[in-house]
């Protein structure tokens, strides 16, 4: 009986030791399955040797074009160079924030905010402060998360293939003189009563 769908797990080292042993025993006598295993190993090694995919240059250019500036923008409201300057306002004269406020009406051209200590002037600082607080929060969260997770494992759950490791240990030490770990290559010898 041929290996069939056991070829892939055999090549991947996923077969249990006893099943792998039976498979190796079969391979010793079956040329057809040996060819399939060799083919599978070749495919795996070629796949492993493939580089990461590289995106097409034309695609990159089109994506870059999406981020490039478009046509000319519509003219901005307010003072345009070359046009008459708006009337100046004496110091101490309150400039109403909203149309209809007392104070003689607004001299501020639309689309432009006055410099000074008004609410609008505070906004950049508010943004900067908010950005700083945000950055500090992120940093703090990162430190806390780092402290909480330092030394802790990440990634998917892992069950070491200990039986395969025993086989590998025995294969590596098989030629060591005065060390007898090679016998049985992964089989547990007959257990006897403890001393």
């Amino acid at each position: 009986m041929h290996l069939g769908d056991r070829v892939t797990p055999l090549v991947d080292g996923q077969l249990p030791v006893d099943a792998a042993e039976r498979a190796y025993a079969h391979l010793a006598t079956c040329r057809q399955c040996r060819a399939r295993v060799e083919e599978e190993r070749l495919i795996k090694s070629r796949l492993a040797a493939l580089r990461d995919p590289v995106p097409d240059h034309a695609l990159l250019d089109r994506l870059g074009g999406l981020a490039a500036p478009g046509g000319p923008l519509a003219p901005r409201e307010g003072h345009v160079p070359g046009s008459p300057r708006p009337q100046t306002v004496p110091i101490g004269h309150r400039v109403p924030d909203r149309p209809g406020d007392a104070g003689g009406g607004s001299t501020r051209p639309p689309g432009r905010r006055p410099l000074g200590r008004g609410r609008g002037a505070r906004r950049p600082r508010v943004y900067v402060a908010a950005a700083m607080v945000g950055a500090l929060s992120l940093l703090g969260a990162g430190v806390v998360a780092g402290v909480a997770t330092a030394g802790t494992p990440s990634g998917p759950a892992l069950v070491p293939p200990v039986d395969s490791f025993v086989v590998e240990h025995q294969a590596t030490t098989a030629n060591f003189p005065f060390i007898d770990d090679s016998s049985g290559w992964g089989e547990t010898p007959v257990k006897e009563a403890g001393r």
Partner: protein
């Protein structure tokens, strides 16, 4: 042909002996233990001859291997055939099988093995005091006995065939003097009939070879820079002698480090990930060195635990106490239960290491 034979002879005998003596001299300065100056040159020469004979001679025999640990002992009886050149067949009865299983181990070229033999013999000679211990009989053959001791305690005894040098029996004791392992031939034929090797049952199972990707020193240094735990030495005089990567087809990359002192061998397997201890049937969760480790109950010793970002699997010929000591050593940089300050220190250390790496580029 004569030149090739002469070269092989040089590689097989003179070179290992010279390298061994050089290694002994070099490693004696770094390995604590009994001084090698006291080593019996007759014992050293006998061991060099033994490792060569064990890799080259043809024989057929029956070998009994027994090991003992805290939870009891195991015994295995093997029928062994070895062809000239080291190709070897072992037939054994294993649990759960209706019949015996024959495994075949490919031999390796003596020139390939010579450096490894030399290194291991160097470790043996530098970790233990070696002395010629007289003669005895094993499996009906005359044998020379070599005794290895450490800090005044006998740790191993090896019986070498007087005529050929082949190891016939060896016993390894733990630090408290208890017998840990015996491997002995109970009968052996060093002049097997032509055609009797390989054995008559051809359906031998091929013993899987070691992972082919040997890790170079430069690769190992690179992995250490990336935080992998790859010490050159472990407690008890165990020295790193081999490092390999798992094949690329494996589901999870693994690094295999092999350590030996010449009498015992320990493997450390490292993987990056989060250990799922519930997926280890036959393992018991125990609390060692401020952490949970998963311990196999039977031979060989197997211990699995989470060590920071790594999952560590320890495999080898060791007692529970020795395994616990190795867990402590391998986890020295990664406390099991981190306190807040320890976590902060660890985090800062990692950040500084990262900054340092970036600034040094």
């Amino acid at each position: 042909v004569r030149l090739a034979l002469a070269r092989t002879a040089l590689v097989g005998t003179a070179l290992p002996l010279l390298l061994l003596l050089g290694l002994v001299g070099a490693s004696a300065t770094v390995v604590p233990g009994d001084g090698t100056a006291d080593d019996d040159s007759q014992a050293l020469e006998a061991l060099v001859r033994a490792v060569r004979a064990s890799g080259e001679l043809a024989y057929h025999g029956t070998q009994v291997i027994s090991t003992w640990g805290a939870e009891g002992g195991t015994t295995q009886m093997l029928e062994v055939w070895q062809a000239t050149g080291g190709q070897r067949w072992e037939r054994a009865q294993v649990p759960g099988r209706p019949s015996q299983v024959t495994s075949m181990h490919a031999g390796q070229d003596a020139a390939v093995l010579a450096p490894q033999y030399t290194q291991i013999l160097g470790l043996l000679a530098s970790s233990y005091r070696l002395a010629f211990g007289g003669q005895a009989r094993v499996a009906g053959r005359q044998a020379d006995v070599v005794v290895a001791s450490n800090q005044g305690r006998e740790r191993a005894r090896v019986w070498l065939d007087t005529a050929t040098g082949l190891p016939l029996r060896h016993e390894v004791l733990d630090a408290s003097g208890r017998l840990r392992r015996i491997a002995t031939f109970i009968d052996i034929d060093l002049d097997p009939a032509p055609g009797s090797i390989p054995p008559d049952r051809p359906e031998a199972v091929l013993a899987p070879p070691a992972w082919p990707h040997v890790v170079s020193d430069a690769e190992l240094d690179g992995m250490r820079d990336h935080g992998w735990t790859c010490p050159d030495r472990l407690a008890g005089g165990l020295q790193l002698v081999d490092a390999r990567f798992a094949p690329q087809t494996s589901s999870t990359p693994a690094l295999h480090l092999t350590y030996t002192d010449g009498l015992s061998a320990v493997s450390v397997f490292l993987q990056r990930g989060r250990l799922d201890g519930g997926g280890l049937p036959g393992f018991a969760a125990v609390h060692w060195v401020d952490r949970t480790v998963y311990l196999a109950r039977d031979w060989p010793m197997r211990v699995v635990w989470q060590d920071g970002p790594e999952v560590v699997t320890l495999v080898g010929d060791m007692t529970s106490d020795e395994a616990r000591g190795l867990v402590a050593q391998l986890s020295a940089g990664q406390p099991g239960d981190l306190g807040a300050m320890a976590r902060i220190a660890l985090q800062l250390r990692g950040m500084f290491a990262w900054l340092h790496r970036d600034s040094s580029r």
